[in-house]
Subunit: 309 residues, 2 copies
């Protein structure tokens, strides 16, 4: 195919520098974890990042390895202490900040929610995780009611952000709907890892699949994708088997609008990524590979079915 020629017609900024914080988490002391994240956020802001993404449920351990009612004590309202902490930080540093939280919406009603700030202590927008997983070690259906806000990008000073959360990453539908609503960049805070009992080959396939599906959302929609994943081993609570738990595979990454990897973190270290995204590139790529021109919407109705039987 011919060379995409650079063009400059978008009303958005020509580029934006984004930061990603990949962390291991040692315990459920939320204040300590917030301070740890804040240190990295400050460092990234000082390095010029205008938008920073934290990983899924960064305030605590990944608590879904078991189903325990006392765990609901970790939740808080959207405008709780985490909001006060991170809102103030976003305002002070004058950044767009994407956080993730265990939302207590009402008694007996909880969500896995992303909260976005835009250079202010006020909330720019929220997203409640729409697709909720449930498999051994990831008992999320016990804790989280599926989101009821749909797939709506959050408008900020750097563009419309399509924020999705973890299990959402496996669904091309979610990314497409965000892109069709004008998302300029897709963000995935996530917490996924290996079972140490799996073979190395199986572990490799899983991590590759996870990266491929998210890179494919960049390809299909011609937008950059920014992913923050947790790292470190978290033991299964109350298990007598030392191997029981999740080895979060890190590998946070940023991909450009052709799915190309622009930066990638290690599997096993707490570290940050800094990438300057060329926001004009989306327009350039879409002009030469105009997928949205040719969608067969006359033949897509069955996508809203459970199964075509």
């Amino acid at each position: 195919m011919p060379v995409p020629v650079a063009t400059h017609t978008s009303p958005r900024a020509a580029s934006v520098t984004v930061g990603v914080v990949q962390q291991s988490v040692a315990g459920n002391d939320k204040q300590a974890n917030w301070l740890s994240s804040a240190e990295q956020i400050r460092s990234l802001a000082e390095s010029g990042c205008r938008c920073i993404l934290l990983q899924e449920l960064h305030s605590t351990l990944y608590f879904c390895q078991t189903e325990e009612t006392h765990v609901f004590d970790l939740a808080e309202p959207i405008k709780g202490e985490g909001h006060a902490f991170f809102g103030q930080l976003a305002a002070e540093l004058n950044i767009v900040l994407i956080t993730s939280m265990f939302e207590h919406r009402a008694s007996g009603l909880y969500h896995n929610t992303a909260v976005v700030y835009d250079c202010s202590a006020e909330i720019a927008g929220t997203y409640r995780k729409m697709h909720i997983p449930d498999d051994p070690g990831f008992y999320e259906k016990f804790y989280f009611t599926p989101g009821d806000m749909g797939f709506t990008p959050i408008d900020t000073s750097i563009g419309k952000l399509g924020v999705l959360v973890c299990w959402d990453q496996w669904y091309p539908e979610a990314a497409r709907l965000m892109a069709m609503a004008g998302a300029d960049i897709l963000f995935y805070p996530t917490a996924i890892g290996w079972d140490r009992n799996d073979s190395t080959d199986e572990q490799q396939r899983q991590r590759d699949a996870w990266q491929i599906i998210q890179r494919s959302h960049a390809v299909a929609n011609s937008v950059p994708v920014v992913v923050a994943n947790r790292t470190g081993f978290e033991a299964a609570p109350d298990s007598t088997n030392d191997a029981a738990g999740i080895e979060f595979w890190g590998t946070s990454f940023v991909a450009g609008p052709q799915g190309e990897i622009l930066a990638q973190a290690s599997t096993d270290q707490s570290e940050n990524l800094i990438v300057t995204l060329d926001l004009q590139r989306t327009e350039t790529v879409k002009r030469i590979w105009p997928y949205f021109r040719d969608r067969r919407i006359d033949a897509y109705n069955d996508l809203s079915k459970r199964w075509r039987d």
Copy 2:
């Protein structure tokens, strides 16, 4: 995530050996090209392949580099000479054979059509390319009316085959609809290549994007994906610029249901691939990563819109 445990509950065969023919094409002598393909098909059948995929429009040069009315002479009815040739071959070799053709449906009405045989000279099913590209060097909208048969897998003795064609490969919607209709394997006959004027980096991004998006269909739907792409340089007709034309990038490949590459051809050689697919693996993968369980069909209606504005 935990180890997927092998299970054996599907009514399908436990495995099937598939073959892929990647070829360069020297001219528009259809008989010569059919004989060349037939030689490879025979070789693959002798090696044990039960299902063989040819590349897009394998009977001729890729004729869409220019818009010329005389090119319509290359088209033929579905039950034309190509049908007679390949149907007989499928019957003789007792194989499932996936061919691609320039279909003359009626005067002034043409399609880019895949025709599938199942161990018989009779046609098992057809698929008319639904998404039609059009960009410099790929003027397909001039030649092909978009398909009007929707996304329906073709039932054969080895399973339900989700046959899609080239530009369809960029659309997660197409793969999803095939999978939701029970496709056991996705097949993509394709003809895509580089502009020699592009930088090496740009060429790399394009080929990677093409492979990522198709591997992602395997991941999203937990089914294998089989891709046959053309190879070799085809000069742009009537051009005085020797560099003008398409350098088809080959790279035909087969991926398993986690998107893992099982075999991959070179960029620049005519060659065949042989892969034995474990058809039980789909069931195993779907049990541990059950994406279809959690699709938010209540929130997907806008996928049938052109844009969410």
